[in-house]
């Protein structure tokens, strides 16, 4: 390994305390950081099976529905009354046996919620041999089907033909996966309209649920997923773009040099988006990130930067601080898209430098504000996934800010994390600590590897 980028950063936790010092930027790269690798592989090899839903589908004959809410398909005569939840432990044992490759591998099967949820991690070897991440979901789904068939002695003559539909929904007649099984990563390859989007398919509320509404940890997990997606989609392949995204991850996602924390602290009491912008410009000038290029007759200063990637990362941190300040004052997420919009609109004219991600964030936020409001409102901001057609054009800069807004929300939304992502709250206890407190674990991992790079 070799250090590719010259930058060195300090990492601070959600209390503003320094937890890692003089870290080379490469040490937080998904290609090197063990904690981020752990988060990546956990997302890919983890599967959630909703046993309650399988039991209810089989008992009522309702399955294969394509609607977001409710089920439009019910077939009388195919009902199966099986005590699946009651026998969750036995099903778990069988699934474990089918999925496991060797006795000492890293397979894990947890029964949660009184037998309603099965949380399965398939062994790494299976993922190594897989063509994509959906392999985990398919294998666990089929393993569950076999377990039910074996446990309850189901045959083609007494109903095995509907077990698949209860688990996988109408797939493969339809491209969607609307049954009782889902990957921890929500993306399902046939239903994704582009490569490199899978790490962005979890909705904002999923991230909020996993990190238990802890703002900066939610931001970190979201930023890590966005960064993984950038490496996945080819957006981080040129050294400049690799650094561009790593600096974004550092300053917006991991509170590098305590920038986000200090901006919020300075403006949290009575500040606005405007005052955050003024604080950010002052800080960037002090740190030598931007310099005055020319002073116009009115006294207006046109700034220049010798490091556009770093100034962009500073703006990403400033934008996050602005969202925390504004949505925090309102204790409501709905102002997050407007905050992002205003931040970029104002900062470009205040500095004479391009706004965040060279205008893409401003453009995306206008559409996002539009589609999260009134007559055009599809859903609350928390119910959007960054892979959606509205948000995907901003390469990692918006989703963490919406997560922050959602963590700040005191209960104003219809689409709450409890409603859309309740299952993520149930599985939180068995997730690795790296996912629940990414700031701490990524920093620790970075400290460990910094001298080995």
């Amino acid at each position: 390994m070799a250090v590719r980028h010259p930058d060195r950063i300090d990492l601070h936790d959600e209390r503003g305390e320094r937890i890692a010092e003089d870290i080379p930027l490469d040490a937080i790269s998904p290609l090197h950081n063990p904690a981020i690798k752990k988060i990546c592989e956990t997302f890919k090899r983890s599967v959630i099976v909703n046993l309650r839903r399988i039991e209810d589908s089989l008992r009522s004959g309702r399955m294969g529905g394509e609607m977001g809410v409710g089920d439009e398909c019910q077939i009388p005569g195919i009902e199966l009354d099986l005590p699946i939840v009651e026998n969750a432990e036995k099903i778990a044992e069988l699934v474990d046996r089918y999925v496991r490759v060797s006795d000492d591998d890293d397979t894990s099967v947890h029964v949660l919620g009184g037998g309603e949820i099965l949380f399965v991690q398939v062994p790494t070897l299976r993922m190594y041999m897989a063509s994509d991440w959906a392999s985990a979901t398919v294998n666990v789904g089929v393993a569950t089907a076999h377990a039910i068939i074996e446990l309850f002695n189901i045959t083609p003559f007494n109903g095995s033909n509907v077990i698949k539909s209860a688990i996988f929904g109408r797939y493969p007649q339809s491209i969607t996966l609307r049954g009782a099984v889902t990957g921890l990563l929500r993306g399902w390859p046939p239903a994704l309209d582009g490569v490199g989007l899978a790490f962005r398919t979890n909705m904002v509320n999923d991230i909020v649920a996993i990190t238990n509404k802890n703002t900066l940890n939610g931001v970190a997990l979201s930023a890590i997923l966005e960064t993984l997606a950038m490496f996945d989609s080819g957006d981080a392949i040129h050294p400049v773009y690799e650094r561009y995204h790593l600096l974004r991850l550092a300053y917006q996602g991991l509170n590098a040099n305590n920038l986000v924390y200090e901006l919020v602290k300075e403006n949290g009491k009575d500040g606005t988006i405007g005052t955050v912008i003024l604080s950010l410009i002052r800080r960037a000038e002090e740190d030598g990130v931007i310099k005055v290029k020319e002073t116009l007759p009115s006294g207006f200063k046109i700034y220049k930067t010798d490091d556009a990637c770093l100034w962009n990362a500073y703006m990403a941190a400033g934008q996050l601080a602005a969202v925390i300040v504004n949505c925090g004052a309102m204790r409501a997420v709905q102002g997050a898209p407007a905050t992002i919009n205003a931040f970029n609109d104002i900062i470009k004219l205040a500095t004479g430098l391009p706004d965040l991600d060279f205008g893409r964030v401003l453009g995306t936020s206008i559409g996002f504000a539009f589609y999260t409001h009134n007559i055009y409102g599809g859903a609350g901001p928390g119910a959007y996934a960054p892979a959606g057609p509205l948000l995907r054009h901003s390469r990692g800069f918006i989703a963490p800010c919406i997560v922050a807004g959602m963590c700040m929300d005191a209960g104003t939304q219809t689409f709450t994390p409890e409603l859309t992502s309740g299952v993520y709250m149930k599985i939180r206890d068995v997730l690795p600590p790296e996912m629940k407190q990414p700031i701490k674990y990524v920093a620790e991992a970075a400290s460990e590897i910094k001298d080995k790079l």
């Binding site: 703002t215 003024l278 930067t305 204790r331 004479g352």
Partner: protein, 257 residues
């Protein structure tokens, strides 16, 4: 605290800079009673208690979050108020503020901490907790941010910002929410912002003279301060456009420029 920097030496730029100061307090031009403002907003009857969307923050048990403790919630948020709105349509014929500048003021001025906003098709929405919206509505309607003829409170049927003014100098409103009372010489609202008829009309004061509005103008117009004088603004906007395109290809291409 200094304001947000903005380029330009002319009077329009000067006024934009003034508006973009976080501590700017606009001049009060008229008096509208608190009850009348509540009636115009149409969310509740005067004297009625505020409705809430969640319990007061003191009563909610949330997981500990250090960064949340750094941000002071607004009065309305603290009480768990419902989120309410006020929406303006601003005529392009010398209304004091164009919608986009309204948006930037909402985002900058400390009075509007904890806001949500959205512009679309000739309207500018402002949403805040109800206690907060009542407070800022007073400022929005009583000060130089509002002219009774060229600005209007409209939550529905906002059409009219680009239409000719009527014979009394009022902006067109298909819902006829307001009329010009010739005897009193002032504009009178007969409907709420949602166009629900008011039990008693609410007078909001006389329209400002055209000359006065020109002195307050914040947009460049060829029949007033033409955009051709905005040398600095054009220079900055062109620069941003060029650097966005160049940096959009690869960020380091704008280094040192």
């Amino acid at each position: 605290m200094v304001g947000i920097p903005y380029p330009g030496t002319d009077e329009i730029a000067e006024r934009r800079r003034k508006w973009l100061d976080p501590d700017f307090k606009p001049k009060k031009l008229r008096e509208i009673s608190d009850d009348d403002i509540v009636k115009l907003l149409g969310h509740r009857k005067p004297g009625m208690a505020y409705s809430s969307v969640h319990p007061p923050l003191d009563e909610i048990k949330e997981p500990p979050d250090p960064i949340k403790e750094l941000v002071e919630p607004t009065d309305g948020a603290r009480h768990g108020d419902r989120i309410r709105y006020i929406q303006f349509t601003d005529s392009q014929h010398f209304a004091p503020l164009p919608p986009w500048l309204r948006f930037r003021i909402y985002a900058t001025n400390r009075e509007f901490r904890g806001f949500d906003s959205l512009a679309y098709s000739g309207r500018m929405l402002l949403e805040m907790r109800e206690r907060d919206i009542d407070r800022v509505a007073k400022m929005l309607l009583e000060t130089e941010m509002f002219d009774t003829a060229r600005c209007a409170l409209r939550s529905i049927t906002v059409h009219g910002f680009s239409l000719r003014l009527d014979e009394d100098g009022l902006m067109f409103d298909a819902r006829r929410r307001y009329i010009y009372d010739k005897e009193r010489g002032e504009v009178v609202y007969v409907k709420t912002q949602q166009s629900v008829p008011l039990e008693e009309p609410v007078p909001v004061g006389p329209p400002l003279p055209e000359e006065e509005l020109k002195k307050m103008a914040t947009v460049y117009r060829f029949d007033h301060v033409p955009p051709t004088v905005a040398d600095e603004l054009m220079k900055v906007v062109k620069r941003i456009g060029e650097l966005r395109v160049l940096g959009g290809l690869r960020p380091d291409l704008i280094n040192g420029k």
